[in-house]
């Protein structure tokens, strides 16, 4: 009985919140504001709890105090470095030494810049160039004509698309025309992504409608 009642309360609560968010489409209103306030509070709490247990407790506390020495990885002491940087971050709260909190920030920014520099150069530049270098057609000549055209399109599209991104040359004359062709390809790319996502977005809406009409109102079986 109790669980049945709980189930109903939960269902009505979820329906109340769902309709509250949808009401924003009409205009901002009290109902939406209540939902927004609940969402912000609950979710901020949720993430703090998740970070606390996953990172501070499981990674740091267990790693430093609970795990027996023999089972620890060779570089377990790195956890102390992380915690030290975290504590430096909190020094922001002390006005006199607040500037020290820039150290962990500098650490994060430097590490991110360094890591991305090489990894993105490899995956975005080298790999993409290597993949683009392909024969347009082979010796057998048995490829359908649209495949050959497709190969030409990939080469020309990548070439002109890159021309569009040139910063140090004005888009004028032949260079400008090539850049225009590049924009043409970019727009097709954007259109393709756009069209590709539309269906999945619709299915999200269908999911919520299904909840309202079938789970809550039970109008659809």
């Amino acid at each position: 009985m109790e669980s049945g009642l709980m189930h109903h309360v939960a269902l009505w609560l979820a329906a109340f919140l769902t309709l509250g968010i949808f009401s924003f489409l009409y205009r901002d209103n009290t109902w939406y504001k209540v939902c927004e306030a609940i969402f912000v509070g609950i979710s901020a709490g949720y993430w703090f709890v998740a970070y606390f247990w996953d990172n501070l407790y499981t990674k740091f506390w267990v790693g430093v105090w609970v795990t027996p020495m023999a089972d620890r990885p060779d570089d377990w002491y790195v956890l102390y470095v992380g915690a030290a940087l975290g504590i430096l971050m909190l020094l922001r709260l002390v006005p006199k030494v607040g500037w020290i909190s820039r150290w962990p920030l500098a650490f994060i920014v430097g590490a991110t810049a360094g890591l991305y520099l090489v990894t993105y150069f490899a995956s975005n530049v080298m790999l993409q160039i290597e993949d683009t270098v392909r024969p347009i057609f082979g010796a057998e000549n048995d490829a359908p004509i649209y495949e050959i055209i497709g190969n030409i399109v990939v080469a020309v599209g990548t070439f002109t698309g890159l021309i569009y991104f040139f910063f140090s040359k004005e888009h004028r004359g032949a260079f400008g025309r090539a850049a225009k062709v590049g924009i043409f390809f970019l727009m097709i790319t954007f259109g393709a992504s756009f069209g590709y996502t539309v269906m999945s977005r619709m299915s999200l809406l269908i999911g919520r409608m299904d909840f309202l009409f079938s789970d809550w109102l039970k109008l659809i079986k």
Binding site: I21, F24, R27, D28, K33, C35, E36, F39, V40, I42, S43, A44, Y46, W47, M89, R102, L105, I108, V109, A111, T112, A113, Y116, L117, V118, Y120, F121, A122, S123, V125, M126, L127, I129, E130, T132, V133, R134, P135, I136, F137, A139, A155, T158, F159, L162, I163, F165, F166, F167, S168, K169, E170, H171, L186, T189, F190, G191, S193, F194, T197
Partner: protein, 401 residues
């Protein structure tokens, strides 16, 4: 008497029953076992920290029949002076494996077991082997060389711009609009909204957003416009406050700065969006900036911004989200333009020099694409040896692993 007859019949039934069993079951027992794999060799896995051993072998001869009689392989490893254990199960047809869980201090012996319904066949064990560590990854020398080349070009142009050499940088419409967009907010007496994406400071797009914020907030400080920056990450909040504060100080108006310009909302993607949407419809910002890493929320934000009549300048390197910004915003910075934005807005020669440097990278890419595609096509269509060699050479140079 009747009892004896009954027993006799029962015995007859049992004998007949046993004799009548299908012959197939016994046939299994006489099926031949399979041959083991041969030529099993273990070598040190190159260019690692001494944690890998490569194994190669010739599959069991029974694996080469169709249908194969081998159902799979097991790789066994034993530490010299210790016990052995199974470390991998592989499908039929497999002929190599890399063990990446080794220790530099141990010596290992491997064997491969071919598995079949009829029984298993164990290979001869490898010679004992100890993994070695290398100090330089020679497989990545090409990456090092090309990345160095592009970086050197960037640094060269930074230096040459520093020494006073004039550099041309084309106009980027979205960035030229920044001043006007902030001016508009000032005239209308409405705030500008700056959204730095929903990722943390460990994403290079967020860092790009913060560097752009440095330029935007400088103009904001000069014009005395209100800026509102709700963020979804605490570290971004800290970095953004430092940035805006510095701009107000540089503009000579430190008193006008207030920590509340930047506020933390929630780490949750859609909770953050719900709050930002609320801010938009209630405070009606005249200008919205969406710069950084965005996911599905891109369009929700941009469409809500549209509904309140804000001028919108967006930029992201998330390929799936650029289309939505292009469709729903007044100006969209596409990929690379996001990273160039802060240099462009700074208008400092040394920053602009770096943009020319990255163009050298693009020029290299263009040349390789043209030469490579021609070489590959001529080489494979007309079998021209030199062209095929050129094609392979380019592939080797741009290969990554």
């Amino acid at each position: 008497m009747l009892f004896r007859v009954a027993i006799a019949f029962a015995c007859l039934f049992i004998i007949a029953g046993v004799a009548g069993q299908p012959a197939g079951d016994t046939a299994l027992a006489v099926q031949q076992t399979i041959a083991p794999v041969t030529s099993l060799i273990a070598t040190n896995h190159e260019y690692d920290n001494g944690t890998g051993i490569d194994l190669i072998w010739v599959p069991s001869i029974d694996d080469r029949l169709a249908p194969s009689r081998v159902t799979g392989y097991e790789v066994w490893r034993s530490v010299v002076g210790g016990s052995g254990s199974r470390i991998a199960e592989l499908p039929a047809g497999a002929n190599k494996f890399t063990d990446e869980q080794c220790s530099r201090e141990s010596t290992y012996v491997y064997s491969v077991v071919a598995i079949s319904v009829a029984g298993n066949a164990v290979s001869i064990s490898t010679a004992p082997i100890q993994p070695a560590r290398e100090w330089i990854n020679l497989h990545r020398l090409n990456l090092l060389a090309i990345a160095f080349l592009v970086s050197a070009a960037v640094i060269y142009f930074i230096q040459s711009a520093r020494s006073g050499k004039k550099l041309f940088v084309r106009k980027i419409a979205g960035l030229d609009a920044v001043d006007d967009a902030i001016g508009r907010a000032t005239e209308m007496g409405r705030p500008i909204l700056f959204i730095p994406g929903i990722q943390d400071m460990d994403d290079v797009q967020t860092i790009a957003a913060i560097t752009i914020l440095g330029r935007v907030s400088r103009v904001v400080a000069d014009y005395d416009t209100k800026i509102k920056m709700p963020v979804s990450r605490s570290l971004v909040m800290t970095a953004a406050r430092e940035t805006i504060k510095a701009s107000y100080m540089a503009a000579g108006r430190p008193d006008a700065y207030n920590d509340d310009m930047v506020s933390y909302v929630t780490d949750e993607q859609f909770g953050y969006v719900a709050a930002v949407d609320g801010i938009m419809v209630r405070e009606k910002p005249a200008t919205c900036f969406y710069l950084g890493a965005f996911f599905a929320e891109s369009l929700i934000l941009a469409e809500t911004g549209n509904s309140v009549g804000a001028i919108q300048i967006a930029g992201t390197a998330m390929p799936a989200q650029i289309p939505f910004f292009v469709a729903a915003c007044d100006f969209a910075l596409i990929g690379e333009e996001l990273f160039a934005a802060s240099a462009y807005l700074s208008n400092e020669p040394k920053q602009l020099g770096s943009l020319k440097g990255q163009d050298v990278g693009k020029a290299v890419a263009l040349v390789v694409i043209v030469v490579g595609t021609m070489a590959a096509t001529i080489g494979s269509a007309w079998d021209v040896t030199f062209m095929n060699q050129l094609w392979s050479a380019l592939k080797v140079v741009f290969q990554t692993n």
